[in-house]
């Protein structure tokens, strides 16, 4: 698959394109320097922008051949931009995740209610359910948006920089939540991030994006093949293979 923008023409990512496969149960971090195309890749996977070439297949189906509603049952997203309305209650916002399953009026069935309750429970938001979203902290709002994606009950969950603007504790909390989600039956979670140290400890797979190349594999494979060492210019940051973390050079 090739990614980028058609107008003005700007192709991002490796020239030969990207080819990788995600298994259910995997938690994959997309990493790379700013502007290399992490978000573009994620948005292309999500169908928010067209691929410049190639296809995205979910459970064997090419995603652009699916109707919008079918696609919404296959993949859910958490984006960097906050919801347009901050007046919704936590529960109402999460309930919107059930749209691909409800009738034309969006009436919730008992099953829908159960999915919302499950999402609230997994994200530990039960006590905040009736609060309006404008009263939440950044970390809480991020959990609400993740809960909404959970309620959508899709095999693939895509998140664009879910840990930005959060302190270390909340970053870890969100990443652990993503790991728990990926361990649910039949789920694969993909997210972009700059938290490489944390991702190395928690993810099952990582996709390292370079301007002209990419590497996909488990954290151990990537460390062994020394791809992470060339991620940043060596005069500013170097990778310590033993401690598995980046150091200032």
């Amino acid at each position: 698959m090739r990614i980028g923008y058609s107008k003005p023409e700007l192709e991002l990512g490796p020239r030969q394109g990207l080819d990788f496969e995600l298994q259910s149960g995997s938690l994959t971090a997309i990493i790379g320097i700013n502007g290399v195309g992490k978000s573009t890749l994620l948005r292309t996977l999500a169908g928010l922008q067209p691929a410049l070439g190639g296809v995205v297949k979910i459970l064997g189906n090419e995603s652009d051949t699916l109707s919008a509603r079918q696609q919404a049952r296959q993949l859910s997203v958490v984006l960097t931009n906050p919801p347009a309305s901050r007046n919704l209650s936590v529960r109402d916002l999460i309930a919107l995740g059930r749209h691909p399953y409800t009738n034309w009026l969006g009436q919730l069935s008992a099953l829908d209610e159960q999915c919302i309750a499950d999402a609230l429970k997994l994200t530990a938001l039960e006590s905040l359910a009736q609060h309006p979203c404008h009263s939440l902290s950044d970390g809480q709002l991020q959990r609400v948006l993740i809960a909404r994606a959970l309620a959508q009950q899709t095999p693939l969950v895509l998140l664009d920089e879910p840990t930005s603007h959060l302190d270390l504790h909340h970053k870890v909390r969100i990443l652990k939540l993503l790991r728990d989600i990926s361990r649910q039956p039949g789920k694969a979670v993909v997210f972009t991030t700059h938290e490489i140290d944390l991702a190395l400890q928690l993810c099952t797979h990582m996709l390292v994006l370079f301007p002209d190349n990419y590497a996909f594999g488990t954290p151990q494979e990537l460390i062994k093949s020394k791809v992470l060492e060339s991620l940043f210019p060596s005069d500013s940051v170097t990778f310590d293979t033993v401690l598995q973390r980046f150091n200032i050079s």
């Binding site: 169908g47 509603r69 919404a72 919801p83 007046n87 109402d92 919107l96 691909p100």
Partner: protein, 340 residues
């Protein structure tokens, strides 16, 4: 939705109250008991009262209900669509299009025909001209909306169309006769009192069409509360939703402006008041809410504009502004930021 039953009941009673008040008050003094008697098919003490009520006040009150509810609903649609609390039914240039249509007819007839043949356009002709004007601007905005996906850019384009049409109207008015100018100014005052039953029927049909379109996209409107990308990821067909919302607004605001002239602030203020009253952003709750609140507000404004017991009638557009603008300011002060 049970928790909202009492709110709807209260609004319905308020609507009934303001409806009867609006019917009962006017230049002629008709007791409330007589008004109700006429409505229920009885014979009043004075025969002319029946004529006043059935041929003048009743169509006017029904027009107020349709215009108030319709403008409020189109305001709600625009605020959600543009994700902007200051959007109203006229941001797409609908009212400026109507003004242009009316101005072209009123001033144009003065230019094209020799003074001896010049005529004052009838209300029906004015309604047709202004609805053609709104339709033209709406189609222009609609065609632009296919190229410009960004709602904020579309909002600004609508405002720019408004500026251009306002400039054309200014040029036309500077070149025209005093009588034509006066007629145009009277049109711009807004008026809900001279529709008659036939025009009211057409307005009612447009109202039902607009409300029906809005009802058909309730789910999409709720998804839009998250933003267009999230709505798309929830399986909403965004290009169809965009078309439905713009059409519903165009039919409601355009149709109402054609028959009643430009009426300000109802579309802007009522959705905020309704959100505040229902403490909800769910369009399934808000849609009946704004229809009721808009109708009540318009009935009250019209009652004031009638200056009860006198023969004077104030411009309804001025009354809605005088009452509506402070409401918007109060909302801003009370809530710091207007949220939707």
């Amino acid at each position: 939705m049970h928790r909202n039953t009492w709110r709807y009941t209260l609004l319905f009673l308020l609507l009934l109250g303001s409806f009867l008040l609006n019917l009962g008050l006017g230049s002629a003094k008709i007791p409330l008991s007589e008004t109700i008697a006429i409505l229920t098919g009885g014979t009043p003490e004075v025969a002319s009262w029946e004529y006043i009520i059935t041929e003048y006040r009743l169509p006017k009150a029904l027009t107020a209900i349709l215009t108030g509810g319709g403008l409020a609903l189109s305001g709600l649609l625009m605020q959600t669509f543009f994700r902007n609390p200051l959007a109203g039914p006229f941001v797409l240039g609908i009212s400026s299009g109507a003004s242009l249509g009316a101005a072209l007819l009123i001033f144009g007839s003065g230019f094209l025909l020799p003074a001896s043949l010049a005529f004052a356009p009838t209300n029906a002709a004015l309604a047709i001209a202004s609805s053609l004007g709104s339709l033209a601007v709406l189609l222009l905005v609609l065609s632009v909306s296919y190229r410009v996906k960004d709602a904020m850019a579309l909002l600004i384009i609508g405002l720019m169309f408004g500026s251009i049409t306002a400039a054309v109207v200014t040029v036309l008015s500077s070149l025209s006769q005093a009588e034509a100018l006066q007629q145009y100014i009277f049109w711009s005052y807004g008026s809900i009192g001279n529709l008659g039953w036939n025009n009211l029927g057409i307005l009612g049909l447009l109202f039902l069409l607009g409300v029906g379109l809005a009802v058909s996209c309730l789910k999409g409107l709720n998804a839009l509360l998250l933003g267009p990308e999230y709505a798309g990821s929830l399986g909403i067909n965004m290009s169809r939703l965009r078309l439905q919302i713009i059409l519903a607004t165009g039919i409601l605001a355009g149709g109402i402006t054609a028959f009643a002239g430009p009426i300000a602030f109802v579309g802007l203020a009522v959705p905020h008041l309704t959100r505040l009253a229902f403490k909800s952003s769910d369009h399934r709750v808000l849609l009946p809410g704004v229809l009721l609140t808009g109708a009540i507000m318009m009935l009250c404004c019209d009652t004031v504009a009638q200056l009860p017991r006198t023969a004077y009638v104030l411009p309804i557009n001025a009354i809605t502004s005088v009452l509506g603008a402070p409401v918007v300011i109060w909302l801003l002060l009370r809530r710091k930021t207007m949220m939707f």
